[in-house]
């Protein structure tokens, strides 16, 4: 299905957020996820089901002043 990930239309096979993070090989410990404008904590990634056209923001902390 197609999702909007960080502003880009992206084709994925995963059906849950947890599967998506594995599919994209993302670093789990530092990842902050917003799913359709809702922040999803790591414990809820496996239960969070994805649907066509969902909007995901995948964020992390970086250096800043």
């Amino acid at each position: 299905m197609q999702l909007q990930i960080n502003g880009q239309a992206t084709q994925i096979n995963a059906t849950t957020l947890d599967e998506l993070i594995s599919e994209l090989e993302l670093p789990r410990e530092s990842l902050v996820v917003e799913h359709n404008s809702q922040i999803v904590r790591q414990q809820q990634w496996a239960q969070t089901r994805l649907s066509q056209d969902d909007v995901l923001e995948l964020l992390s902390f970086v250096g800043g002043g």
Binding site: N6, P27, E57, S60, F61, V62, G63, G64, G65
Partner: protein, 256 residues
Amino acid sequence: MSDTALTLGEKTFTNRLFTGTGKFAANSQIPQMLAASGSEMITVALRRIDLTSETENILNFIPNTVTLLPNTSGARTAEQAVRVARIAREAGCGNFIKIEVITDSKYLMPDNYETLKATEILAEEGFVVLPYVLPDLPLAKRLESAGAAAIMPLGAPIGTNRGLETKPLLAMLIENCSVPVIVDAGIGLPSQAAAAMEMGADAVLVNTAIATARDPEVMGQAFDLAVRAGRAAYLAESAETSLTARASSPLTGFLD
């Protein structure tokens, strides 16, 4: 010298130099700088991850004894700043937030109006709100009423290292604010940090001047010393200035 600790929210800070994580040549310099400077609070930013390459987790370079101060950089409106703050808290970074709302990319001047709106919302939600602003006394009083934990006025534009160009305006805030005043942005040298502390600033926040020094570790230490010196001078209450000389030695001639 007896001094009281600086209290922000429920935390107390004995070191009055706050630092940032931006612009270091290598993240491994950050823990060295923190150890050398004794800084007890450091800023971080939140951004979209790069899906195509692996990056280091900045949080791994910050000891857990140091308080994280996430900023809302990248926000152009109060609404965006509120969103960043909520995400940062949810991500486990505590409830401190530096509000930074900037629409001007040339001078990176903070938008005081949007910053006030974000402060009102976030203070209500229990955040320890540290708004980064232009030093404007009526605005500072409004921020206080809105529940800001401190006011963070700029000395000069971000990253310019030009020092306390806003000095008379900073003095008005320091004299009249009932919450702590933390001079943020523009401080380029330890002597400028000392000057801010001598004036009675409660703390300073320094990023660029430390991170882009050839040796950030030693510069962190230099800033620590300067902030301590300036604070001690403030507490000691400096002597008066005069246009005419006032002899330190007896005025009589040598053999009179």
